[in-house]
Symmetry: C2
Subunit: 236 residues, 2 copies
Amino acid sequence: MLKTERSSGERSALRSPRAATVYRALLDAILDHRLAPGTRLPEDEIGAVYGASRTLVRSALEALSHEGVVHIEPNRGAMVAHPTVHEARSVFEARQLIEPRVAAAAAGRAGEKDIATLAASVEAEHAALHAGEHRRAIVLSGTFHIAIADIAGQPVYAGFVRELVARSSLIISLYWRRREATCGSPAHGTLIAALATQDGPRAAAVMEEHIADLVGGLDLVEREARPASLADLLVG
Amino acid sequence: MLKTERSSGERSALRSPRAATVYRALLDAILDHRLAPGTRLPEDEIGAVYGASRTLVRSALEALSHEGVVHIEPNRGAMVAHPTVHEARSVFEARQLIEPRVAAAAAGRAGEKDIATLAASVEAEHAALHAGEHRRAIVLSGTFHIAIADIAGQPVYAGFVRELVARSSLIISLYWRRREATCGSPAHGTLIAALATQDGPRAAAVMEEHIADLVGGLDLVEREARPASLADLLVG
DNA sequence: TATGCGCAGATCGTATACGATCCCGTTCTT
DNA sequence: AAGAACGGGATCGTATACGATCTGCGCATA
């Protein structure tokens, strides 16, 4: 992977490379939908899997919780986050505001090499789709959005987009409605075209529509899913 | 169905209340400009000051680093973040995009009680200003922005605004140019008026101008850091 | 049979110990 | 005298130990 500049969105690099490994492994597993929302994440168990001590695992879990993909309850432990409908709406509302702006900024800065990288990413995404590797395609689709944010050269946006994409992955796994070849939309390709021609406004428009389309694929209605604690119901 | 959901912006509450105490104390000290950007934050020393073990201090520092107000370098330790000019621009770019939208959303939801709370906050801010307590006024100004984001009821935005406001505080301490009664602008009052009349577009416009005004007060040219002795600042 | 108590087992919270790394002042070499 | 090698002190990185808390299950009891 080419790093154009210091990977701008890279949130707080975990101080230790070993903790970072656990962090990435868990994040990948979550983005991949190998770990479903609500899955418990006991420190010991994770440590055993990755050969790390609880100290490192804990550090990784805390980092993930800061990004909203893991939920930690005191004295109860960590679990894969389980976004509510309200949170889901909030995430996509933010994406709809931020990402078009990011796309416009990226259009003004994308070099040939950037475009090539993006194209390769889309290529990989399509390949994964045709191979039936849906989960992998979703992950790649996410990295595409992150790559654009990195190109935009705005570290704050890059961090936000990273977080939003990760949370979106959880939301999709909970609330996605269309089962068929969902992400088959040509939006990413269209986006690259706009970026390649430095057409900021068009890039923004395409991005906006693309995300609106994503939202359209969601079924944002609360499922029973979680055993909404009795207390909540009684007090509410 | 407006259930008093947990303060929406409250990022991952640190699991332990004791770590949270350290976290808040440090954050307050930073927002207050008692700890200047670049100040080193050795785990032992902080632990001694607050009577906490390194474990807890470390947890607090990591949380702060996730919010971008503390910078951690592997094997080197933590220091108060020292935003570059580029980062500073990026932070305010994001604020300029996000906060008007947040203000508009808040306008649609602000109840009487919310307005009263905001008014009290502005009151306190002015009081602090007149009492010459500039630092306190800046902090209150920040909480005002955060309060609006909480009213908007969008948890994602609330978290972002929290982070942006905190980072802005650092930026201001590094790059603020006008020395005189800076925040004396009536913007906050005007904003409340717009919110009280549910005038979303106007709230957005006021907010946008307000932040543009803030940016205008910045002198975004690189300077260099200054060190300080720690224990004194923390106790003060 | 239904209810409540109490005891494991699992898991987390926290402190602390020990080794690793880095910084910086000192000394040795040329 | 300038530069390199070296060592001491400070600080961090990591593992682990021990106590606290929670959960679930079995048993006593009505």
